[in-house]
Symmetry: C2
Subunit: 466 residues, 2 copies
């Protein structure tokens, strides 16, 4: 965590999504002459304000949720869309345009289908409880209801399952139950489970060097890194997220992947994998948890090499077709069809609920084994909490660890979760027999500002459903 950016203004959570929020050119450079954190904070704040995004301070000025509802904004609703109403590559990651994009990514980017197959959808029985009015104290000690929390955190979907029954289901911001929503880093957790399953089956050795599977990375940070250090993000790779410096690696990722349009004179990597080869080591491996989307891309690469299958096909055949999903999902791909295995998955809230329930049940659902129970247990047990603490995300996620690309709360309920940068969650609470799906399009890229209240919401819901 080398950046001397004040914690309050860092975009904590997901480099991939954070990069997606950045401007494509350095024209919006701040000219701040200060040093260290102050200068960075100024630059970042200016850049974010240009984008219409607040820097993630303790209490940024956020647009009132009612003002950024899609039904009000009317994006892309005339033929053709004109003026303010139009969303294309030039403004797709500005706010509030992002609220539309998370429901329509495939209309802007090449994608690959994750097919549900011909089987009927598996049951997701409803047993409604009036959880919307459930009151709890937020991080500031203010009373707030679940509905108010959902609304104030720009939630597009909120689903709560208890013992496999859908006790609460709320959609907002024009999201349809059938519409896949961009999940950002929730994607990583699927890649992590696939890798953990392969390790469990003995097909992938977590103690082997990455280069055993991907020799192309011999000249990079991953040259002497073990697979386990990729899975748990303790490998040391230089991947700066300096949004005011176009030499910062975050731009390389965004340009290589296609998340941001390339500058006219672009000479950089043409694909995500070619970009990964360029990243040097930065410190010692296995010392500190360092959250880097590029690790997930490497892990996905390894999974494809071990299986000989495309990530999207694995997702379809091993997960989507078995779980009895309601809808196809999809993943964004780069210019040569490589999936964004750290940030590009899109799926519906209900189908994610099935994933959560499968995990809660130890890897089985819809009469099928999806993952071995040992894989789920290994994930839920968590990773190294000291390395996590040293990694700088402790303030937002106190006591957490990271294992197999899942966030583990280490609370009394044994909870763990997948999380995306604008407030996407698959939250599993085994003790409360509860799964929560939250799909949001929050104006702040990162959990630092919201997560303290998120934790209180999880606890209140768990108490209410028991």
């Amino acid at each position: 965590m080398p950046l001397s950016v004040p914690r309050s203004s860092r975009l904590v959570g997901l480099p991939a999504a954070a990069c997606a929020l950045a401007a494509p050119t350095p024209r919006s450079h701040a000219g701040g002459q200060g040093t260290g954190g102050r200068r960075w904070g100024q630059a970042l704040g200016l850049l974010l304000s240009v984008l219409g995004l607040p820097a993630a301070a303790q209490a940024p000025a956020l647009p009132p949720p009612d003002s950024v509802q899609l039904e009000r904004l009317g994006y892309m609703s005339t033929f053709p869309p004109e003026g303010e109403q139009r969303i294309d590559q030039s403004n797709a990651y500005k706010y509030p345009q992002l609220r539309w994009v998370v429901q329509h990514l495939r209309e802007l980017q090449p994608t690959r289908n994750i097919r549900r197959g011909p089987a009927p959808a598996s049951p997701l029985p409803a047993a409604p409880k009036p959880l919307g009015g459930l009151q709890f104290e937020d991080a500031q000690g203010q009373k707030i209801t679940v509905d108010e929390w959902a609304r104030s955190t720009y939630t597009d979907a909120l689903l709560v399952l208890h013992q496999g029954r859908l006790v609460y289901e709320r959609y907002d911001n024009s999201l349809q139950p059938s519409t896949p929503h961009l999940l950002f880093s929730v994607t990583k957790s699927f890649t992590g489970l696939m890798a953990a399953q392969l390790a469990h089956e003995g097909r992938l050795d977590p103690q082997a060097l990455v280069t055993r599977y991907v020799p192309e990375l011999a000249g990079s940070a991953w040259a002497d890194m073990k697979v386990r250090e990729v899975m748990d993000m303790t490998g040391a790779v230089r991947f700066r997220e300096n949004y005011t410096d176009p030499s910062s690696e975050i731009f390389g990722y965004a340009w290589a992947s296609g998340l941001l349009p390339r500058p006219p004179a672009y000479q950089g990597a043409n694909t995500v994998y070619d970009f990964l080869k360029t990243l040097p080591k930065d410190g010692e491996h296995d010392q500190v948890f360092t959250y880097r989307t590029v690790h997930s891309e490497v892990l996905g690469w390894i999974v494809s090499r071990v299986t000989g299958r495309h990530w999207a096909d694995l997702m379809s055949q091993q997960i989507w077709q078995k779980l009895g999903m309601e809808e196809d999902a999809y993943v964004m791909v780069d210019r040569v069809g490589t999936p964004l295995q750290g940030a590009g998955l899109n799926a519906t809230a209900r189908d994610l609920a099935r994933v959560g329930e499968m995990l809660r049940l130890g890897g089985r659902f819809n009469g099928q084994k999806i993952f071995d129970a040992a894989v789920i247990e290994d994930t839920a047990r968590g990773g190294d909490r000291d390395k996590f603490k040293a990694g700088g995300l402790q303030a937002a996620r106190p006591g957490y660890s990271y294992r197999n690309q899942w966030w583990v709360l280490h609370n009394a309920d044994g909870a763990y979760e997948a999380a995306g940068v604008h407030g996407q969650f698959i939250h599993i609470n085994p003790a409360a027999q509860m799964v929560v799906i939250k799909l949001s399009s929050h104006p702040v890229a990162g959990a630092a500002f919201t997560h303290a209240t998120t934790l209180k919401a999880w606890a209140a819901l768990a108490q209410a459903v028991r």
Copy 2:
């Protein structure tokens, strides 16, 4: 039809797809100094050979079908794809890469979903007949079986329905029954049916000027054109398909739509609709059938204006969800989400079989009314055969006319069809109670070279199933 290109080397069938086959830069200009047809033929031949495509002569040298099977070519099957195996925007419309692209368009382009909805798939009962061995005489008088015809015309799927039962179903070239296939100009026929239905309902006046619905076209060829002249392609618009002249309108369409990567200094239209506004009139309207993909884009624009709905949503709600489709379909969109209403649809062969059967049954299928019978009847009755004859496509399609964006054979069986440039068909033969779906990825862009045998195949199949 102003081009003085020898008929044998014209890319007959679909400007949209033809443009998709053209090189993005003028570097491959032929320097021929001849005049008229000869010079054009030379230039086109050279360009096509650069692309690996034969000019559509009477007997072009085609790659042996076995040599261009995807299982043999192995495109995009390693992670990442390297060298010859890689397909991206730079070679996506070369041959045989095109064979992969027609099964994977969404992995290269932004697209919009056409959702099938939650209903179970409608029955498509099988009653197999050994039609593969059926022998008939091809255009040259040679005996050929249906299987040989399918193979030799680079067919990816061939389905024959008789009285609603699937009597023959063949897939090749790795196409899965569940994989949507690019349909090129078959797309137009859906747009045409939508418009005809709106006309039948009195919501769209075919005798009104286009500008009543789309005033933005007031400065273009469509300024004084009637809607009917768009529906039946008798409007006179300048849309040259000179593949060696980058000022030719075909490039404008390809660059505006995103079908071809834009040249570095591109200053042209950013969207398909902006491009349409630039096209001038070329002669008098309502004189001659002049096949132009841009008419279909205008017609789709009109449909969206009348309904206030996106083409993909109309396709889903009015067709895909009602017919009980097996799979979602999708359509390519330009940079602002406008669908390519003349060339961008992708769907499975089985779902197209349901469309064909619905048409054969007069607009009803799966217990639902999709179109009014009068709309189907109006379409099947055909358009003006004299205007068609004057249009220059008579050699390939003798006796045909074009109505509501459908090709009408005017044969004894009352047959009509939708057709795409690389050999995609929905062929309906009411008298024989037969529907044929043929999805191909033929190396020649155009029907001139193949259609005489296609007609003989239709006739042989109709005779066999009766």
